[in-house]
């Protein structure tokens, strides 16, 4: 993000109904949000669809946006909820994800010495841990900001990040991880 002041001004104008200001916010955050959702979903097309839904929802809910909370955390929070809604509605896909998670978890626990690719390790994390890790380790969110976005207590978020980091370190071959 380049200029927090400009972002705040655009958010304020968008809240007052300015579509132009909102389109600037879309331009500003589309890259980060789509990258976050792409790593969360694993599918570019699906992630982009959820990102579009996120922006549409954000536009319609601008009146409820609390400027004190920060637009980015609010937006990513909507994206996260949209992702979860989509995941719930696709029960078959959810089952497949869980199975994949359990299988990959077993691979990590077995410690066969094989160096698991970090992307596969990330995909094997439970969605909440994956989201927490992506926001805090890759998207440069503060813990407080990520906790607000994911709507979980700060302690839970820190625990998710620590566990995710541990697994990812293990995947990178760190004996202490």
């Amino acid at each position: 993000m380049n200029d927090p002041g400009a972002e705040q001004a655009w958010a304020h104008a968008a809240r007052a109904g300015s579509a132009e200001a909102f389109s600037r916010l879309v331009a500003l955050h589309q890259q980060g949000l789509r990258a976050f959702l792409r790593r969360l979903c694993g599918s570019h097309a699906e992630a982009d669809d959820i990102a579009q839904e996120t922006f549409v929802f954000a536009w319609e809910a601008m009146a409820r946006f609390d400027a004190g909370r920060g637009f980015r955390a609010w937006l990513f929070g909507i994206g996260w909820r949209k992702f979860r809604e989509r995941r719930r509605s696709w029960l078959r896909r959810l089952r497949r994800e869980q199975q994949a998670g359990e299988m990959a978890g077993a691979v990590v626990a077995a410690d066969t010495g094989a160096r698991l690719d970090i992307a596969a390790a990330l995909d094997a994390l439970p969605p909440e841990q994956r989201a927490a890790a992506l926001l805090c380790l890759a998207c440069e969110f503060t813990h407080a900001e990520a906790a607000r976005a994911l709507e979980i207590p700060l302690g839970t978020l820190k625990s998710h990040v620590a566990r995710a980091r541990e697994r990812l370190q293990h995947a990178l071959g760190d004996p202490d991880g």
Binding site: A19, S23, V26, A27, Q30, Q31, G32, R34, A35, F36, R38, R39, H44, D48, A51, Q52, E53, F55, V56, W59, E60, I118, A119, L122, A133, L134, L137, A138, C139, R165, L168, Q169, L172, D174, D176, G177
Partner: protein, 97 residues
């Protein structure tokens, strides 16, 4: 190693990331917003039209009687027409707001 995890994650995110400016995506978002607006407006107008038709259907007999009872009372007719125009303007202004 902590830095290695974070830098590797950032590298992966960057490799997967869309371009910093993506006009087609931005346009798709704004088009989706406009489509939703349009659909809502159409649904709202259709609902208002259906309600108006129902009200007119129900009010037609008493209105016809009232028109007959006016019996050429021009002032009362003009007042009724004026009130109708004001009501339409109010509805249009409300829609624009």
């Amino acid at each position: 190693m902590v830095e290695a995890v974070e830098s590797e994650l950032r590298r992966r995110m960057a490799a997967d990331a869309p371009p910093a400016r993506d006009l087609s995506f931005e346009l798709a978002v704004m088009a989706r917003i406009e489509r939703r607006h349009f659909r809502r407006a159409v649904a709202g107008n259709a609902a208002v039209a259906a309600l108006a038709a129902l009200v007119l259907f129900m009010a037609a007999p008493p209105l016809a009687q009232a028109a007959e009872s006016l019996n050429g009372n021009l002032i009362a007719t003009l007042v009724a027409v004026g009130l109708g125009i004001l009501a339409m303007q109010w509805a249009l202004q409300r829609e624009e707001a």
